[in-house]
Subunit: 289 residues, 2 copies
């Protein structure tokens, strides 16, 4: 595919930084200009961007591709300012894990440029964050959800799709509402569960007079896997959960129902029913491999 | 340490089979005799045991070490029959992940032999099961909880402790009740959570007309980690949960309270409180590394 001349990367943490690294690996950007008040200098030092600017206008002016890789609420909040400085032919994408608020902000702010905005969500990252964790291969083999709007320009969509393929990812399309419902279930609610489970176990070990060292010796590989994503950045996840609060609340209810099925079979000591409930879940999970 | 002349391994799945393989690696058994109606032939073919018998009495008679590695309810149920055939100087251990029911069965059945029974729980295994998954290095570097009773013979305890060390594990002592409370929180309840979470996500993906193939493309590394233990054997886990139902129900209540804290902060859109709740959990989880 054709190289971009100037790519603005807004937010250079794990996702934005990896995007910059992947662009360089594929030789798809003449210049990568970063805007990232929190961690831009570290990203520059790591070579994830070529130039750092303390000013969004400078990043966006002259860019033929603008990539929003800040937390979801920041991506949404920056749309209005972005719109002022955007070049007439520039493409825009965001990498947020919640699409609704960003898409609504884009629809309100971008005007004629809305057709060249293609929402993206790369399914990668897990519990790490920050530019130090960024890697050029983060998207290799990973699904990227593209959520084009009714008015999205087909050439803009095709170019963003080809870009993701060139970065090693596998684009799939999903409308905005389906995306936010599905990723509430696939990612956002599981994070709540992992955080709550870690808190529950921490309390139980403390109740038995166990500190951090004791806990590390007692806890096996199972709980480590189950709570790995609870190491994630709390600020970032608060932001995601608040941005997708409705679908997340629906998952909470569905999950409460599933827990109740297990608790009820246990309370009745109904082994057959318990096995049936557990086996249905195990069967689905095995089918994921 | 001194080699055992004849070790009876009752149950030759992942844990019993690995115990057999680890014994051979350390050259600690002259003969390993297996009793395992379900999977003994496979374990024999894999070299996890030297001899297979269809009869518990034959396995136990002449053994100087008896290792119960069947599901927890089976280990408890076999104590009475075991007692009949046990040699006067034989050591007994069980590898169950719930100790209460096995210890109570032992106390009722073993009589004078109770002093030579040392309950063990190796913290290893996660989601795999069966002799095909067994490995001589399964216990390497892993904690093994020993739960001696008031009347446990100190030489028996020392010998079982030395045995685990020779098999590569790190023995720690914990009384039976603390063990069952702690492992309800560290292992049993997290399995319920993983099963329920897998069921919730499966339903959400089905609601969006997604089958197994779609799910595999949409689901990222986070949920795969969080639900990995939900691939575990449903029969085995129903058995464990029923054997430790009281402590598991207490964990369910504690977990519901933790979930409620997150849901409440989300419902109030109280970002500061939400970050505080998530960060406390994240901090503990990071301290586990």
């Amino acid at each position: 595919m054709r190289r971009f001349s100037r790519v603005a990367i807004v937010g250079t943490g794990l996702i934005g930084g990896s995007f910059g690294a992947a662009l360089a690996r594929a030789d798809l950007a003449h210049v990568r200009i970063g805007y990232s008040p929190a961690d831009g200098e570290r990203a520059l030092a790591l070579g994830l961007i070529d130039v750092l600017t303390p000013d969004l206008a400078t990043a966006v002016a002259g860019a033929d591709l603008v990539v929003l890789a800040a937390p979801v609420s920041v991506n949404a909040a920056l749309m209005a300012q972005l719109a002022i400085h955007l070049e007439p032919q520039a493409l825009v994408t965001d990498l947020s894990s919640v699409k609704g608020p960003v898409v609504r902000a884009a629809a309100a702010a971008l005007g004629a440029a809305l057709g060249r905005y293609v929402p993206s969500h790369p399914i990668a990252g897990a519990e790490l964050s920050g530019p130090a964790a960024a890697a050029a291969d983060l998207f290799d083999g990973r699904t990227v959800i593209l959520s084009p709007l009714r008015g999205t320009d087909t050439r803009a969509l095709a170019r963003i799709e080809a870009l993701w393929q060139a970065l090693g990812a596998r684009p799939q399309q999903l409308d905005v509402d389906s995306h936010d419902r599905l990723y509430a279930a696939i990612s956002h609610w599981p994070h709540v569960v992992a955080f709550a489970l870690a808190a529950t176990t921490a309390q139980a070990i403390e109740d038995e007079q166990g500190g951090a060292e004791r806990a590390a010796a007692l806890v096996g590989p199972g709980l480590r896997d189950t709570t790995r994503i609870a190491k994630a950045d709390a600020e970032l996840w608060a932001d995601i959960l608040l941005a997708n609060a409705g679908p997340v609340a629906n998952c909470a209810d569905a999950f409460a129902h599933q827990l109740e099925r297990v608790r009820d079979a246990l309370a009745c000591a109904d082994r057959e029913r318990l096995v049936r409930v557990l086996e249905a879940a195990a069967h689905w999970r095995r089918s994921l491999e």
